[in-house]
Each structure stands twice: as C-alpha cells, then as structure tokens.
C-alpha cells in the first residue's frame, strides 16, 4: 500500500531525468534547462500564484474524473464538458453584462456546473441505454463543443463593439471570481476545488454510493451480484465528473479570462486525466498531482521565454509522467507476485 502511493514519486523523478536527456539531445544544458523548467517558475510569489491558478482547474476536473475511473467508466471528454460548462456559464454572465449584483456569480457558477453535467450525460445515457462506447462518444463531443464555442464567439455572441474579433463582451465585475490578493491572478475558484476535494473524499469513503463505485470498479460481476443499480451509478458518476469539469470551465472564464473566446483551456480536460492517475484517484493525491502537472505548464511557458523551446514540451513531460507511472506499477504487480509465491511456499 505504501508503495502504491510511493511509485508516483518515482515516476516524477524518472520524468525529470528523461526531460534532462531530451534537453541534452536538443542541445541545451540539461541542468540549466531543468532549472528554468521546474524552479524559476515558482521562485517568486507571482509564480506561486500562477501555479495555484493552473492547478485549480486540473484538480477540479481530476476529482470529477476519479469518480468515473474508479467505477471503470472511461470519460475522456472532460475537455468538452469544460467547454460546454463555460458556454452555459458564460451565456448567463453575458445576460448580466451590464448589471451588478451579488447573486450573479453564484448563478453563473451554477449554470456552468449544470452545463458540464448535461454534456457529460450524453455519453452516459448512450452508454447505459444503447451500449455505446463512452470513450469514443465523450471524445467526439470535445470537438463538437469546441465548434459550438467557435460558432458562438464568432457569430451570435460576438462583441458588437469588438471589431469582429472572435470574442464576446467582457463580463461585468459581478460575474468575476473575487481575487484573493491584490496584483495576483489567484482567485476564489481555488475554494471550489478544495470543496470538491473534501466532498469527494466524503462521498467516496463515507457513503453507500462511494462503496458502490469502488466495488463496481473492482469487479462488475460482484457489483451485479450485490444488486447495485449499475445504470444509475453510471449516470451519477458522469454527472459528478461533468459538473466538476463545468466548474473548472466557469472558473477559467470568470477568473483569469473574463469573457468567452476560442482558447479558454490549454487542454486542461485531457491533462487532468494524467492528474487523476498520478494522484492515484485519491482526493488528496490529486491535490499534489495537480500541483506537479501545473508546474509542467508553467515550466513550458518559462522555458519558451528563456530558452525558446516550444511550449509543447509541457505535453512531452505530461506524457512521460504517465508512461513512467504506468510502468512503475509493474513494481507493484511484481511485489504481489512475490508475496503470493511466499504464501504458497508456506503452505507446502
């Protein structure tokens, strides 16, 4: 069990080493490049706030995904649910673009969560009632949601005074997440993420639903035998997952962005899959993992500025983390084998 939570650290160390090798091959001083990547970005208060800013949506989405993954539901379309949540939440914010009031932000946030939830229900309903593969459906919907967003910001929702830029009006101040500190971009959305962590811990470990989810993940047959209502559970985990992704989307547009445009997320929805695995689908593990993966985003940006390395190196690091994490699971498998061998020897 200790090893189960220890292997993610091995994966991170191996990724850093692997990254150093890649930098070396590309002709950079690996030590210097890694320093720009992992230390420079968080060496001041502003950088630290940026780290939390990027970790917030990753953590929220990954918490939602952990419900799906734990119960063997492969929702990989969180990016689409994030986008659709942002569309619905953004739509509400645009309704109030010239109004102020304390009730606006809660409405916007709620709308975002509902939007994400509805969008996640599509693959869930198709899976439960039509036996359709949720991996492909949720993924196809990512492209659909991005095209809907594109249509809206270019067409009906584009800013009438915006010189035909593909963006909407700025939201009113009442639709914006309150900033936590003057001059830093970190906003109140982080509390949503922390609340999601607490709530998910409670649901997963203290309720009957959480028990059902875990049993279904371990063995679908056992779950059926125990009489769990599989269909309802699938719908619920997708709804939770979609709501979290929708919240992440709404947090981005009401936080740092302040309007709708084409690029509301640098693939947070896909990267959060890595976060969920790296955090071992455990709420507190996910907090840690979201910080690590957020650092790959920040590091990629810093490395682009200082070393002119394309910012896509972030994805290389993210892919490597998951590779190494999955590979190091072999150690666990190996250990189980040794243990069972020892047991057999005792019996003989």
């Amino acid at each position: 069990m200790a090893l189960y939570f220890f292997t993610p650290f091995i994966a991170i160390i191996l990724t850093i080493l692997g990254g150093g090798i890649i930098f070396y091959i590309l002709g950079f001083n690996p030590i210097e490049a890694l320093k720009f990547y992992f230390i420079t970005p968080i060496s001041n208060l502003y950088g630290f706030s940026e780290l939390l800013l990027k970790a917030t949506p990753l953590c929220l989405i990954a918490i939602g995904l952990s419900f799906c993954f734990k119960s063997n539901n492969w929702n990989i379309g969180a990016e689409g649910q994030l986008t659709f949540g942002a569309i619905v939440g953004g739509g509400v914010a645009l309704l109030f673009y010239n109004q102020e009031g304390f009730y606006i932000l809660p409405l916007v946030i709620l709308a975002g969560a509902i939007g994400g939830m509805i969008f996640a229900l599509i693959p869930a309903i198709l899976k439960t009632y039509f036996n359709t593969n949720e991996i492909l459906v949720s993924l196809m919907l990512v492209y659909v949601s991005k095209l809907i967003l594109d249509y809206l910001v270019v067409g009906p929702w584009s800013n009438p005074e915006g010189f035909n830029f593909p963006e909407t009006r700025q939201f009113s101040d009442s639709s914006r997440m309150p900033l936590l500190f003057e001059g830093l971009r970190i906003h109140a959305g982080i509390f949503l993420a922390l609340a999601a962590v607490m709530l998910s811990w409670f649901i997963l470990y203290k309720t009957y639903l959480g028990f059902q989810i875990k049993v279904s993940g371990l063995s679908l047959k056992t779950a059926k035998y125990a009489g769990f209502k599989g269909k309802t559970m699938i719908l619920v985990v997708f709804m939770i997952s979609g709501a979290c992704a929708g919240l992440a989307g709404v947090g981005e547009i009401t936080g740092p962005i302040g309007q709708l445009h084409r690029m509301i997320s640098p693939d947070y929805g896909f990267t959060a899959i890595i976060v969920a695995f790296l955090g071992r689908l455990n709420p507190f593990g996910i907090i840690f993992a979201s910080l690590v993966v957020a650092l790959t985003y920040l590091g990629a940006e810093t490395a682009q500025i200082f070393l002119q390395i394309p910012k896509y190196t972030g994805q290389v690091f993210q892919g490597m983390i998951l590779f190494f994490l999955l590979a190091s699971d072999y150690l666990l498998f190996f250990k189980v084998k040794i243990l069972s061998l020892k047991k057999n020897e005792l019996r003989h």
């Binding site: 198709l126 039509f130 095209l147 899959i273 972030g314 994805q315 892919g319 998951l322 999955l326």
Partner: protein
C-alpha cells in the same frame, strides 16, 4: 458552379484523397485490435509519422526515405506502447492516451525548425489518363502510389485475416488468448507484431498528410483524424471492407463541407465541421444497439491484459 459530370468525377477523386489517412490508420488499428489490444495512441503515432516524414524529406530530399522513415518512426513510437502494455502489463486505455499526448508534444518539439518550409511535389501516377478520360479519369488516375496502396489495403487485410494461417493466429490471440497460448502460440509476440504493424500504418497515414495531402508541416496537423480512425474501426465492426466504406463516407463529409462553404450554403461552417463527429456518434449508437452485430467480429479479449504464468 455547375454540377456537371466531370465536376462530380473530380469531387469523387478528392473524397478518395481525403479518406486515405483514415483508411491507412484504421486498417492498422484494426489488426492491432483484432489481436486484442486497444491502442488509443493513433493520433499520437500519426502526428509523429507526419513530422518524421516531412523532416526526412527536407533533410534527405528523398521521398522514398521519407515514406519509409515515417513508417519506421511509427513503429518506434508504438514500441513504447507495446513494451508498456505487453511487457509491463499496463492499462491499454491510459497508455494509449499517454502516447497521444506525448506524440503531439514531441512532434511539435521536433517540428520547430520545419514550420513554414514548403513541401515537395509528390509524383502522381497516370497523370495523362486523368486529363483525357472524362469522369473516370480523375477518379481512377492521377493519384499518388500511397492512395492506390491505401485502397488495396482493406482487401489485403481481409484476405490476411480470413484466408491465411497468420491471420487465424491473430484472431485466435484476440478472441481467446488463453487457449491460443495453450496451443503453443506466443501471445505476447503476436500482439507486439500487431502493435508495431499498427504503428507503421499510422506513421504512413501521417506522412500522407504532411507529404502528399497538404505538403507542409503544421503543428497538430492530424487534427483529430486519429480519433476518427479509431471510431471507424468500431463503426466497421472490425471488418476491413467496412473500414473502406466508412472512410469514404467520412472523407465525403469533409469534402462536401468544404464545397458547401465555397458555394455559400447558409449553414454555419462550424455545424458542417461538426458533422463527421456527430455522424460517428450516431453510427456508434446505431451499431451498438444491436449487440449481436457487434459481438460477431469484436475481439473478445479487446483491451484486457494477458499475463502468462511462468
């Protein structure tokens, strides 16, 4: 714009061209899946094939080396997937996703110095026949050799799976790895080969994009085609000939969408662009409802980890 007969011929020719990467990638993935392995890294392998093909073309100025190199790079990157899932017994879905994310990042990194370089003209076959025969000319002639290969591939794949001993072994490994293993078949080795073959075909599909279809390197230029190829395999219920039909339908939607935009059809561009994705979902729903139809060809052990006790 007149819809005369020769225009329709040209239209069909361009639909065929746009379906080539889908046919190649989906045929490769089909073999991988028939052996019981679900590789979601198609998009990643394609984009790696696209950049390595283009880079080799720029460096060596030799299209043959570029094409072979792109297939080799597909093999190399799929080897990561093979090693993880077959030797280290990792989860297929997660490993495939990691491969796609890694591939997109790595391709952008490798392609940094190749952005904006113009491509080289790829030789086309029978170009004189293309002009001289109305209607059938643009359909049958004047294509690259890769296109002819792609259109033969589903039939070759079908023959391989149904009529050869190796094809039978692949199917046996996919349907019942345990019995296959008891028969003395090296399940892991067969799966490795199928994964690497899938990688080669995806690499070629990517190279088709960067060398022939739109001869240049653009970041993320596969633009979700890998995912459509994956959907196509399910759409075709793991039958190679249906992959060809499906790829033509998707290619057709892509081309029609471009033409409708050009004509000024009064439907938002984004809606037309969303059509292939929506179509995939609809088709998935229709074929998945009938569980018998899906079970007929579905590799029974698809995505499950096989481990041989020693």
């Amino acid at each position: 714009m007149s819809l005369d007969i020769s225009f329709i011929g040209i239209l069909i020719g361009s639909i065929m061209a746009s379906s080539v990467p889908l046919i190649l990638a989906a045929s490769g993935e089909l073999i991988t899946e028939r052996s019981g392995v679900l590789n979601l890294g198609v998009e990643g392998m394609m984009i790696i094939g696209a950049i390595s093909g283009f880079a080799l073309m720029v460096i060596t100025d030799n299209l043959f080396i570029a094409i072979v190199g792109s297939m080799l790079s597909g093999v190399i990157i799929s080897l990561i997937f093979g090693f993880l899932t077959q030797s280290l017994l990792t989860n297929h879905v997660a490993t495939g996703l990691a491969l796609t994310i890694f591939g997109i990042g790595l391709s952008a990194m490798l392609g940094k110095n190749f952005v904006g370089i113009p491509g080289k003209e790829f030789p086309i076959l029978f170009s004189s026949l293309r002009e001289s025969i109305p209607f059938f000319g643009p359909i049958l002639f004047g294509h690259s050799i890769v296109l002819y290969f792609a259109f033969a591939l589903p039939f070759l794949t079908n023959y391989f799976l149904k009529k050869t001993k190796l094809g039978l072994i692949v199917r046996a490994v996919g349907d019942s790895p345990v019995s296959a293993s008891n028969q003395g078949i090296n399940v892991i080795l067969v799966r490795y080969c199928c994964i690497l073959y899938g990688g080669a075909m995806c690499g070629l599909a990517g190279a088709y994009l960067s060398l022939i279809y739109t001869p240049q390197w653009i970041e993320n230029m596969t633009a979700g085609r890998g995912w459509i190829a994956l959907a196509l395999v399910v759409f075709a219920t793991w039958s190679p000939i249906k992959v060809l039909i499906g790829a033509l339908i998707f290619g057709g939607i892509t081309i029609l969408q471009l033409h409708m935009q050009a004509i000024g059809f009064r439907i938002p561009v984004q809606f037309l662009s969303a059509l292939p994705y929506l179509m995939t979902i609809i088709v998935l729903v229709v074929i998945s409802r009938d569980s018998r139809k899906i079970k007929l060809n579905t590799p029974t052990s698809l995505g499950r980890i096989f481990y041989k006790e020693k």
